[in-house]
Symmetry: C2
Subunit: 241 residues, 2 copies
Protein backbone atom coordinates (compact mmCIF):
# COMPACT_ATOMS: atom_id res chain seq x y z
CA UNK A 1 0.00 0.00 0.00
CA UNK A 2 1.22 3.50 -0.63
CA UNK A 3 0.96 6.53 1.59
CA UNK A 4 -1.26 9.48 0.69
CA UNK A 5 0.34 12.87 0.30
CA UNK A 6 -1.52 14.03 3.36
CA UNK A 7 -0.32 11.12 5.51
CA UNK A 8 3.27 11.87 4.50
CA UNK A 9 2.81 15.54 5.29
CA UNK A 10 1.33 14.88 8.72
CA UNK A 11 4.00 12.36 9.74
CA UNK A 12 6.81 14.59 8.50
CA UNK A 13 5.34 17.43 10.55
CA UNK A 14 5.69 15.24 13.67
CA UNK A 15 9.46 15.63 13.43
CA UNK A 16 8.92 19.13 14.79
CA UNK A 17 7.42 20.08 18.14
CA UNK A 18 4.93 22.40 16.46
CA UNK A 19 3.54 19.53 14.38
CA UNK A 20 3.34 17.25 17.41
CA UNK A 21 1.41 19.88 19.37
CA UNK A 22 -0.92 20.52 16.44
CA UNK A 23 -1.75 16.87 15.78
CA UNK A 24 -1.31 15.60 19.38
CA UNK A 25 0.74 12.71 17.99
CA UNK A 26 4.35 11.52 17.98
CA UNK A 27 6.19 8.71 16.25
CA UNK A 28 8.75 6.04 17.10
CA UNK A 29 11.09 3.94 14.94
CA UNK A 30 12.87 0.64 15.58
CA UNK A 31 11.32 -2.75 16.29
CA UNK A 32 12.03 -2.91 20.01
CA UNK A 33 10.89 0.54 21.04
CA UNK A 34 7.78 0.33 18.83
CA UNK A 35 6.86 -3.05 20.33
CA UNK A 36 7.28 -1.67 23.83
CA UNK A 37 5.17 1.39 23.08
CA UNK A 38 2.40 -0.72 21.49
CA UNK A 39 2.36 -2.81 24.68
CA UNK A 40 2.19 0.36 26.78
CA UNK A 41 -0.69 2.67 27.60
CA UNK A 42 -0.09 4.81 24.51
CA UNK A 43 -2.81 4.61 21.88
CA UNK A 44 -1.47 3.47 18.51
CA UNK A 45 -2.65 5.63 15.64
CA UNK A 46 -0.88 3.96 12.71
CA UNK A 47 1.89 1.44 12.16
CA UNK A 48 3.93 1.28 8.97
CA UNK A 49 6.23 -1.66 8.27
CA UNK A 50 8.32 -2.86 5.37
CA UNK A 51 8.26 -6.44 4.18
CA UNK A 52 11.25 -7.49 6.29
CA UNK A 53 9.68 -6.35 9.52
CA UNK A 54 6.09 -7.37 9.01
CA UNK A 55 6.39 -10.61 10.96
CA UNK A 56 7.35 -8.67 14.09
CA UNK A 57 3.90 -7.06 14.29
CA UNK A 58 0.25 -8.04 14.33
CA UNK A 59 -0.90 -8.07 10.71
CA UNK A 60 -4.24 -6.52 11.62
CA UNK A 61 -2.52 -3.50 13.05
CA UNK A 62 0.04 -2.67 10.43
CA UNK A 63 0.16 -1.13 6.98
CA UNK A 64 2.74 -2.66 4.66
CA UNK A 65 4.75 -0.04 2.79
CA UNK A 66 7.84 0.00 0.59
CA UNK A 67 11.29 1.03 1.77
CA UNK A 68 11.01 4.06 -0.47
CA UNK A 69 7.78 5.12 1.21
CA UNK A 70 9.29 4.57 4.67
CA UNK A 71 12.22 6.73 3.75
CA UNK A 72 9.82 9.61 3.06
CA UNK A 73 8.39 9.56 6.59
CA UNK A 74 11.43 8.40 8.58
CA UNK A 75 13.65 10.71 10.59
CA UNK A 76 16.57 8.28 10.22
CA UNK A 77 19.22 8.23 7.55
CA UNK A 78 18.80 4.46 7.42
CA UNK A 79 15.18 3.65 8.32
CA UNK A 80 14.74 0.64 10.56
CA UNK A 81 11.79 -1.02 8.79
CA UNK A 82 9.06 0.21 11.13
CA UNK A 83 7.53 3.55 12.07
CA UNK A 84 4.60 3.86 14.46
CA UNK A 85 2.48 6.91 15.18
CA UNK A 86 0.96 7.23 18.66
CA UNK A 87 -1.43 9.69 20.27
CA UNK A 88 0.05 11.95 22.92
CA UNK A 89 -1.68 11.26 26.23
CA UNK A 90 -3.35 14.07 28.11
CA UNK A 91 -1.15 15.66 30.74
CA UNK A 92 -2.19 14.66 34.24
CA UNK A 93 -2.46 17.12 37.03
CA UNK A 94 0.74 17.87 38.87
CA UNK A 95 1.07 16.16 42.24
CA UNK A 96 4.39 16.66 43.93
CA UNK A 97 4.77 13.70 46.19
CA UNK A 98 7.65 11.42 47.14
CA UNK A 99 10.84 11.91 45.16
CA UNK A 100 10.37 14.17 42.13
CA UNK A 101 13.01 14.95 39.52
CA UNK A 102 13.13 18.38 37.88
CA UNK A 103 15.17 19.21 34.78
CA UNK A 104 16.24 22.74 34.01
CA UNK A 105 16.94 23.28 30.32
CA UNK A 106 18.23 19.84 29.35
CA UNK A 107 19.02 20.09 25.64
CA UNK A 108 20.24 16.70 24.55
CA UNK A 109 17.50 14.24 23.49
CA UNK A 110 19.63 11.24 24.47
CA UNK A 111 20.12 12.65 27.97
CA UNK A 112 16.39 13.26 28.46
CA UNK A 113 15.52 9.78 27.15
CA UNK A 114 18.07 8.15 29.45
CA UNK A 115 16.77 10.14 32.42
CA UNK A 116 13.17 9.06 31.70
CA UNK A 117 14.38 5.44 31.68
CA UNK A 118 16.18 6.05 34.98
CA UNK A 119 13.02 7.50 36.56
CA UNK A 120 11.18 4.36 35.49
CA UNK A 121 13.87 2.10 37.02
CA UNK A 122 14.11 3.99 40.28
CA UNK A 123 10.37 4.43 40.64
CA UNK A 124 10.32 8.21 40.22
CA UNK A 125 6.87 8.77 38.82
CA UNK A 126 6.95 12.48 38.34
CA UNK A 127 9.38 14.31 36.09
CA UNK A 128 9.20 18.09 35.81
CA UNK A 129 10.82 19.77 32.84
CA UNK A 130 11.40 23.47 32.32
CA UNK A 131 9.70 24.73 29.18
CA UNK A 132 13.07 25.06 27.43
CA UNK A 133 13.97 21.41 28.03
CA UNK A 134 13.90 19.29 24.85
CA UNK A 135 10.45 17.89 24.05
CA UNK A 136 9.94 14.35 25.39
CA UNK A 137 8.12 13.33 22.20
CA UNK A 138 11.13 14.23 20.04
CA UNK A 139 11.89 11.01 18.15
CA UNK A 140 15.43 10.78 19.53
CA UNK A 141 14.10 11.05 23.08
CA UNK A 142 11.48 8.40 22.37
CA UNK A 143 14.20 6.13 21.00
CA UNK A 144 16.36 6.50 24.10
CA UNK A 145 13.50 5.84 26.56
CA UNK A 146 13.09 2.24 25.36
CA UNK A 147 9.38 2.26 26.28
CA UNK A 148 9.67 3.95 29.67
CA UNK A 149 7.93 7.01 28.23
CA UNK A 150 4.49 5.62 29.07
CA UNK A 151 5.36 4.92 32.69
CA UNK A 152 6.71 8.28 33.83
CA UNK A 153 4.48 11.32 34.13
CA UNK A 154 6.22 14.26 32.47
CA UNK A 155 5.05 17.83 32.98
CA UNK A 156 6.51 20.84 31.20
CA UNK A 157 6.13 23.68 33.64
CA UNK A 158 7.33 27.08 34.71
CA UNK A 159 9.93 25.54 36.99
CA UNK A 160 10.42 28.64 39.11
CA UNK A 161 6.73 28.88 39.97
CA UNK A 162 6.39 25.17 40.70
CA UNK A 163 9.51 25.05 42.86
CA UNK A 164 8.44 28.17 44.78
CA UNK A 165 5.18 26.41 45.64
CA UNK A 166 6.78 23.04 46.45
CA UNK A 167 6.01 21.63 49.89
CA UNK A 168 9.09 19.34 49.63
CA UNK A 169 12.67 20.61 49.96
CA UNK A 170 14.51 21.60 46.78
CA UNK A 171 17.84 19.77 46.33
CA UNK A 172 20.11 20.84 43.52
CA UNK A 173 22.93 18.78 42.00
CA UNK A 174 26.00 20.99 41.95
CA UNK A 175 29.79 20.76 41.89
CA UNK A 176 30.11 22.60 45.16
CA UNK A 177 27.66 21.18 47.69
CA UNK A 178 27.31 18.56 50.42
CA UNK A 179 29.03 15.23 49.87
CA UNK A 180 26.24 12.99 48.57
CA UNK A 181 27.64 9.97 50.38
CA UNK A 182 27.85 11.65 53.77
CA UNK A 183 24.55 13.45 54.03
CA UNK A 184 21.07 12.26 54.89
CA UNK A 185 18.50 12.47 52.12
CA UNK A 186 14.81 13.18 52.74
CA UNK A 187 12.15 10.80 51.42
CA UNK A 188 10.21 13.64 49.88
CA UNK A 189 12.21 16.04 47.76
CA UNK A 190 12.46 17.73 44.40
CA UNK A 191 15.87 16.98 42.92
CA UNK A 192 16.90 19.58 40.33
CA UNK A 193 19.44 18.92 37.57
CA UNK A 194 20.65 21.76 35.39
CA UNK A 195 21.72 22.32 31.82
CA UNK A 196 24.57 20.23 30.36
CA UNK A 197 26.92 23.21 30.02
CA UNK A 198 25.64 25.89 32.35
CA UNK A 199 24.09 24.11 35.33
CA UNK A 200 20.89 25.53 36.79
CA UNK A 201 19.61 28.87 35.61
CA UNK A 202 20.04 32.08 37.56
CA UNK A 203 16.34 32.42 38.39
CA UNK A 204 16.34 29.07 40.21
CA UNK A 205 19.50 29.65 42.20
CA UNK A 206 17.78 31.35 45.12
CA UNK A 207 15.19 28.60 45.52
CA UNK A 208 17.40 25.74 46.59
CA UNK A 209 17.30 24.33 50.09
CA UNK A 210 20.46 22.24 49.69
CA UNK A 211 23.20 21.55 47.17
CA UNK A 212 24.36 17.96 46.59
CA UNK A 213 27.71 16.94 45.13
CA UNK A 214 28.88 13.59 43.81
CA UNK A 215 32.45 13.31 45.12
CA UNK A 216 35.12 13.16 42.46
CA UNK A 217 37.87 10.56 42.65
CA UNK A 218 39.73 11.43 39.45
CA UNK A 219 41.92 14.43 38.89
CA UNK A 220 41.10 16.86 36.15
CA UNK A 221 37.68 16.02 34.84
CA UNK A 222 35.25 18.89 34.85
CA UNK A 223 31.85 17.29 35.24
CA UNK A 224 29.77 14.20 34.84
CA UNK A 225 27.23 13.78 32.07
CA UNK A 226 23.86 14.88 33.45
CA UNK A 227 22.20 11.49 32.90
CA UNK A 228 24.96 9.64 34.76
CA UNK A 229 24.79 12.22 37.56
CA UNK A 230 21.04 11.56 37.75
CA UNK A 231 21.76 7.82 37.95
CA UNK A 232 24.16 8.22 40.87
CA UNK A 233 21.93 10.57 42.87
CA UNK A 234 18.68 8.64 42.30
CA UNK A 235 20.47 5.45 43.31
CA UNK A 236 21.65 7.15 46.49
CA UNK A 237 18.11 8.27 47.35
CA UNK A 238 16.77 4.76 46.86
CA UNK A 239 19.50 2.87 48.67
CA UNK A 240 18.62 4.82 51.78
CA UNK A 241 15.03 3.67 51.78
CA UNK B 1 44.56 28.12 3.00
CA UNK B 2 43.20 25.15 1.18
CA UNK B 3 43.68 21.49 1.94
CA UNK B 4 45.68 19.23 -0.32
CA UNK B 5 43.97 16.23 -1.83
CA UNK B 6 46.17 14.00 0.25
CA UNK B 7 45.32 15.75 3.53
CA UNK B 8 41.62 15.36 2.76
CA UNK B 9 42.08 11.71 1.94
CA UNK B 10 44.00 10.96 5.13
CA UNK B 11 41.55 12.79 7.40
CA UNK B 12 38.56 11.15 5.72
CA UNK B 13 40.20 7.77 6.27
CA UNK B 14 40.30 8.51 10.03
CA UNK B 15 36.52 8.14 10.12
CA UNK B 16 37.15 4.41 9.89
CA UNK B 17 39.03 2.24 12.34
CA UNK B 18 41.25 0.87 9.57
CA UNK B 19 42.41 4.37 8.68
CA UNK B 20 43.04 5.24 12.31
CA UNK B 21 45.15 2.12 12.79
CA UNK B 22 47.09 2.76 9.59
CA UNK B 23 47.90 6.40 10.36
CA UNK B 24 47.95 6.09 14.19
CA UNK B 25 45.81 9.24 14.34
CA UNK B 26 42.25 10.23 15.26
CA UNK B 27 40.28 13.46 15.05
CA UNK B 28 37.92 15.47 17.22
CA UNK B 29 35.40 18.20 16.40
CA UNK B 30 33.78 20.90 18.52
CA UNK B 31 35.49 23.77 20.32
CA UNK B 32 35.25 22.41 23.86
CA UNK B 33 36.42 18.87 23.26
CA UNK B 34 39.24 20.05 20.96
CA UNK B 35 40.42 22.56 23.57
CA UNK B 36 40.41 19.85 26.24
CA UNK B 37 42.35 17.43 24.06
CA UNK B 38 44.92 20.08 23.12
CA UNK B 39 45.43 20.71 26.84
CA UNK B 40 45.78 16.96 27.46
CA UNK B 41 48.69 14.62 26.92
CA UNK B 42 47.66 13.87 23.31
CA UNK B 43 50.03 15.19 20.68
CA UNK B 44 48.30 17.56 18.24
CA UNK B 45 49.05 16.77 14.63
CA UNK B 46 46.97 19.42 12.86
CA UNK B 47 44.22 21.88 13.72
CA UNK B 48 41.79 23.25 11.14
CA UNK B 49 39.50 26.14 11.99
CA UNK B 50 37.08 28.35 10.10
CA UNK B 51 37.07 32.12 10.45
CA UNK B 52 34.41 32.16 13.17
CA UNK B 53 36.34 29.83 15.43
CA UNK B 54 39.87 31.09 14.93
CA UNK B 55 39.90 33.25 18.04
CA UNK B 56 39.32 30.21 20.22
CA UNK B 57 42.71 28.74 19.32
CA UNK B 58 46.35 29.73 19.29
CA UNK B 59 47.03 31.25 15.86
CA UNK B 60 50.41 29.55 15.66
CA UNK B 61 48.82 26.16 15.95
CA UNK B 62 45.92 26.38 13.56
CA UNK B 63 45.33 26.35 9.83
CA UNK B 64 42.51 28.63 8.66
CA UNK B 65 40.23 26.92 6.15
CA UNK B 66 36.88 27.68 4.53
CA UNK B 67 33.58 26.16 5.64
CA UNK B 68 33.49 24.28 2.34
CA UNK B 69 36.89 22.72 3.04
CA UNK B 70 35.86 21.81 6.59
CA UNK B 71 32.77 20.11 5.25
CA UNK B 72 34.99 17.82 3.19
CA UNK B 73 36.86 16.49 6.22
CA UNK B 74 34.12 16.67 8.86
CA UNK B 75 32.11 13.67 10.04
CA UNK B 76 29.26 15.96 11.05
CA UNK B 77 26.28 17.02 8.99
CA UNK B 78 26.79 20.53 10.32
CA UNK B 79 30.49 21.00 11.02
CA UNK B 80 31.29 22.87 14.21
CA UNK B 81 34.01 25.18 12.90
CA UNK B 82 36.99 23.21 14.17
CA UNK B 83 38.56 19.83 13.50
CA UNK B 84 41.75 18.65 15.18
CA UNK B 85 43.87 15.63 14.34
CA UNK B 86 45.82 13.98 17.18
CA UNK B 87 48.32 11.15 17.37
CA UNK B 88 47.14 7.97 19.04
CA UNK B 89 49.29 7.32 22.10
CA UNK B 90 51.12 4.03 22.49
CA UNK B 91 49.23 1.46 24.50
CA UNK B 92 50.70 1.00 27.95
CA UNK B 93 51.26 -2.37 29.47
CA UNK B 94 48.28 -3.88 31.22
CA UNK B 95 48.42 -3.67 35.02
CA UNK B 96 45.33 -4.91 36.76
CA UNK B 97 45.30 -3.11 40.05
CA UNK B 98 42.61 -1.51 42.19
CA UNK B 99 39.20 -1.22 40.59
CA UNK B 100 39.22 -2.08 36.88
CA UNK B 101 36.27 -1.80 34.50
CA UNK B 102 35.86 -4.30 31.65
CA UNK B 103 33.43 -3.85 28.76
CA UNK B 104 32.19 -6.83 26.78
CA UNK B 105 31.03 -5.84 23.29
CA UNK B 106 29.72 -2.34 23.95
CA UNK B 107 28.46 -1.09 20.59
CA UNK B 108 27.18 2.41 21.11
CA UNK B 109 29.84 5.14 20.80
CA UNK B 110 27.91 7.44 23.15
CA UNK B 111 27.86 4.73 25.82
CA UNK B 112 31.59 4.10 25.56
CA UNK B 113 32.36 7.82 25.66
CA UNK B 114 30.17 8.32 28.71
CA UNK B 115 31.78 5.34 30.46
CA UNK B 116 35.28 6.72 29.80
CA UNK B 117 34.16 10.00 31.37
CA UNK B 118 32.78 8.07 34.35
CA UNK B 119 36.08 6.21 34.81
CA UNK B 120 37.84 9.55 34.88
CA UNK B 121 35.42 10.94 37.50
CA UNK B 122 35.54 7.89 39.73
CA UNK B 123 39.29 7.44 39.43
CA UNK B 124 39.19 4.15 37.52
CA UNK B 125 42.43 4.30 35.61
CA UNK B 126 42.21 1.07 33.70
CA UNK B 127 39.46 0.26 31.21
CA UNK B 128 39.52 -3.10 29.42
CA UNK B 129 37.48 -3.48 26.24
CA UNK B 130 36.75 -6.69 24.36
CA UNK B 131 38.02 -6.54 20.79
CA UNK B 132 34.46 -6.22 19.47
CA UNK B 133 33.75 -3.14 21.60
CA UNK B 134 33.46 0.07 19.57
CA UNK B 135 36.82 1.77 18.98
CA UNK B 136 37.58 4.49 21.55
CA UNK B 137 39.01 6.75 18.84
CA UNK B 138 35.74 6.71 16.88
CA UNK B 139 34.82 10.41 16.55
CA UNK B 140 31.48 9.97 18.35
CA UNK B 141 33.25 8.32 21.29
CA UNK B 142 35.83 11.11 21.38
CA UNK B 143 33.02 13.67 21.37
CA UNK B 144 31.24 12.01 24.32
CA UNK B 145 34.39 11.72 26.46
CA UNK B 146 34.77 15.50 26.77
CA UNK B 147 38.52 15.21 27.12
CA UNK B 148 38.64 12.30 29.57
CA UNK B 149 40.11 10.13 26.82
CA UNK B 150 43.66 11.16 27.71
CA UNK B 151 43.27 10.32 31.39
CA UNK B 152 41.99 6.74 31.24
CA UNK B 153 44.16 3.90 30.04
CA UNK B 154 42.15 1.84 27.56
CA UNK B 155 43.29 -1.61 26.44
CA UNK B 156 41.54 -3.69 23.79
CA UNK B 157 42.14 -7.26 24.83
CA UNK B 158 41.01 -10.85 24.59
CA UNK B 159 38.74 -10.41 27.58
CA UNK B 160 38.44 -14.10 28.33
CA UNK B 161 42.20 -14.58 28.59
CA UNK B 162 42.72 -11.47 30.68
CA UNK B 163 39.90 -12.31 33.07
CA UNK B 164 41.11 -15.88 33.42
CA UNK B 165 44.49 -14.55 34.53
CA UNK B 166 43.09 -11.83 36.81
CA UNK B 167 44.31 -11.89 40.41
CA UNK B 168 41.30 -9.77 41.46
CA UNK B 169 37.74 -11.17 41.68
CA UNK B 170 35.50 -10.83 38.61
CA UNK B 171 32.20 -9.06 39.36
CA UNK B 172 29.56 -8.97 36.64
CA UNK B 173 26.61 -6.56 36.44
CA UNK B 174 23.52 -8.64 35.90
CA UNK B 175 19.74 -8.50 36.40
CA UNK B 176 19.79 -11.51 38.67
CA UNK B 177 22.57 -11.17 41.23
CA UNK B 178 23.32 -9.86 44.72
CA UNK B 179 21.64 -6.63 45.76
CA UNK B 180 24.29 -3.98 45.14
CA UNK B 181 23.20 -1.97 48.17
CA UNK B 182 23.37 -4.86 50.62
CA UNK B 183 26.62 -6.53 49.70
CA UNK B 184 30.21 -5.70 50.51
CA UNK B 185 32.42 -4.71 47.62
CA UNK B 186 36.14 -5.52 47.46
CA UNK B 187 38.67 -2.75 46.88
CA UNK B 188 40.35 -4.68 44.12
CA UNK B 189 38.05 -6.09 41.47
CA UNK B 190 37.35 -6.29 37.77
CA UNK B 191 33.78 -5.10 37.14
CA UNK B 192 32.39 -6.48 33.87
CA UNK B 193 29.55 -4.83 31.94
CA UNK B 194 27.98 -6.60 28.97
CA UNK B 195 26.47 -5.69 25.63
CA UNK B 196 23.52 -3.27 25.49
CA UNK B 197 21.08 -5.94 24.27
CA UNK B 198 22.58 -9.29 25.16
CA UNK B 199 24.51 -8.81 28.40
CA UNK B 200 27.83 -10.61 28.77
CA UNK B 201 28.88 -13.15 26.19
CA UNK B 202 28.61 -16.90 26.72
CA UNK B 203 32.37 -17.45 26.90
CA UNK B 204 32.68 -15.10 29.88
CA UNK B 205 29.77 -16.51 31.85
CA UNK B 206 31.80 -19.19 33.61
CA UNK B 207 34.48 -16.76 34.76
CA UNK B 208 32.49 -14.63 37.14
CA UNK B 209 33.06 -14.73 40.88
CA UNK B 210 29.93 -12.75 41.74
CA UNK B 211 26.91 -11.17 40.05
CA UNK B 212 25.80 -7.69 41.12
CA UNK B 213 22.32 -6.26 40.60
CA UNK B 214 21.08 -2.69 40.90
CA UNK B 215 17.71 -3.06 42.63
CA UNK B 216 14.72 -1.93 40.60
CA UNK B 217 12.10 0.30 42.17
CA UNK B 218 9.83 0.75 39.13
CA UNK B 219 7.52 -1.83 37.68
CA UNK B 220 7.90 -2.93 34.11
CA UNK B 221 11.16 -1.57 32.87
CA UNK B 222 13.52 -4.11 31.42
CA UNK B 223 16.97 -2.73 32.02
CA UNK B 224 19.07 0.32 32.61
CA UNK B 225 21.24 1.88 29.97
CA UNK B 226 24.75 0.42 30.35
CA UNK B 227 26.41 3.78 31.02
CA UNK B 228 23.94 4.64 33.78
CA UNK B 229 24.40 1.17 35.27
CA UNK B 230 28.16 1.81 35.25
CA UNK B 231 27.57 5.12 37.01
CA UNK B 232 25.54 3.53 39.80
CA UNK B 233 27.94 0.64 40.40
CA UNK B 234 31.14 2.71 40.26
CA UNK B 235 29.57 5.18 42.68
CA UNK B 236 28.75 2.31 45.01
CA UNK B 237 32.34 1.05 44.92
CA UNK B 238 33.70 4.48 45.71
CA UNK B 239 31.26 5.43 48.46
CA UNK B 240 32.45 2.40 50.38
CA UNK B 241 36.05 3.52 50.43
Amino acid sequence: MSLSKNEIKVIQSLQRKKGRIQHRMFFAEGIKVVQELIASSFELSSLYVTKECQDCFDSEQHTLITEGALKKISALKTPSGVLAVFRIADVQELQLDGLVLALDNINDPGNLGTIIRLCDWFGVQQLLCSKDTVDCYNSKVVQATMGSLSRVQINYVNLKEVLEASPSPILVADLDGENLYQTSLPEKAVLVLGNESNGISAELKGLKDRLLTIPRFGSDTESLNVATAAAVILSEFRRNQ
